[in-house]
Point group: C2
Chain length 143, copies 2
DNA sequence: GGCTAACTGAGACGATGTATCATCAAGCGT
DNA sequence: ACGCTTGATGATACATCGTCTCAGTTAGCC
């Protein structure tokens, strides 16, 4: 799902499409990785110079509520990324390094789960976490 | 994995087992749900009266790095829970409501993934997210 | 073009998380 | 059992984060 489609989804859900919101969405879309709110603010100001901090937080929260953006815990606080389908990755809890995965053992479950729960399911995250080789040494984790 | 086992893992990894750390671990263990750092502080002070804020943050970060606790994004900030095996749930992005799931399509992948990546894999999270029936109405999401 | 409700930016505010530092005590060796 | 050594602690100060309020603006609809 690209930035243009997200803008349409916002509209379809009854929200206005403003320069501030477009700037936030496009900043997230161009980054291609998760961004901290402060990074979103910096990047989005290139497109919307006077953009305020509060608006960035409001927009990120709105996108997350609608399932269009994904908040992820990271060292240093929560980061956001646009939801481009589902997310599968292997994350190092020590340094934050990531390896994307191309497996998906969960896709077939979504429809059944939605039916049984009444939820409107926007996607899923499958995240394996642990320590990368470097951090295994650095943290003297002997397991 | 209960609190006692976690304490042993800390020791095994070369860290000291102090009253402050035990209080944090036991507070998380007894809660049985994810806690915000401020809640951890309040609960842990019952066991370790003078406990300081900085120590709680330090301990939570340490536990997360070692894969013994899990930071999760929630409305209001990051929350932590002890890692009791893997986590599978369905989460509402609107209000934070959760449904635990008893499926696990990913368990069999861990060993192969660890071998190929060199990571020490502590566990995984499979999280479906979307909107619960209430929030679908409240946010006028027409999807 | 004008209306109206949703949205915005500014600013103030409390909460959150980190850095520093003197003091303390866990765990080890004896 | 007792000291040592060094990692851990609590207090404090500080920077940042995230929220709230409010007056002014503007997107979307007629």
């Amino acid at each position: 799902m690209d930035a243009r489609q997200l803008e349409e989804k916002l509209r379809a859900a009854g929200y206005r499409l403003t320069p501030a919101r477009r700037a936030v969405i496009q900043a997230l879309g161009e980054a291609g990785r998760e961004l901290a709110p402060r990074e979103v603010l910096a990047a989005a100001r290139a497109r919307c110079p006077g953009l305020g901090r509060a608006t960035v937080y409001r927009t990120l929260r709105l996108l997350a509520q609608l399932g269009l953006a994904l908040p992820l815990p990271a060292p240093g606080g929560i980061r956001y990324r646009l939801l481009a389908g589902d997310l599968h990755r292997l994350v190092c809890r020590g340094c934050g390094a990531q390896l994307p995965l191309d497996l998906c053992p969960a896709r077939g479950l979504t429809a059944r789960l939605a039916e049984r729960s009444g939820y409107l399911i926007a996607g899923h995250v499958l995240e394996f976490y642990g320590l990368c080789p470097d951090c295994q040494r650095r943290l003297s984790c002997v397991e």
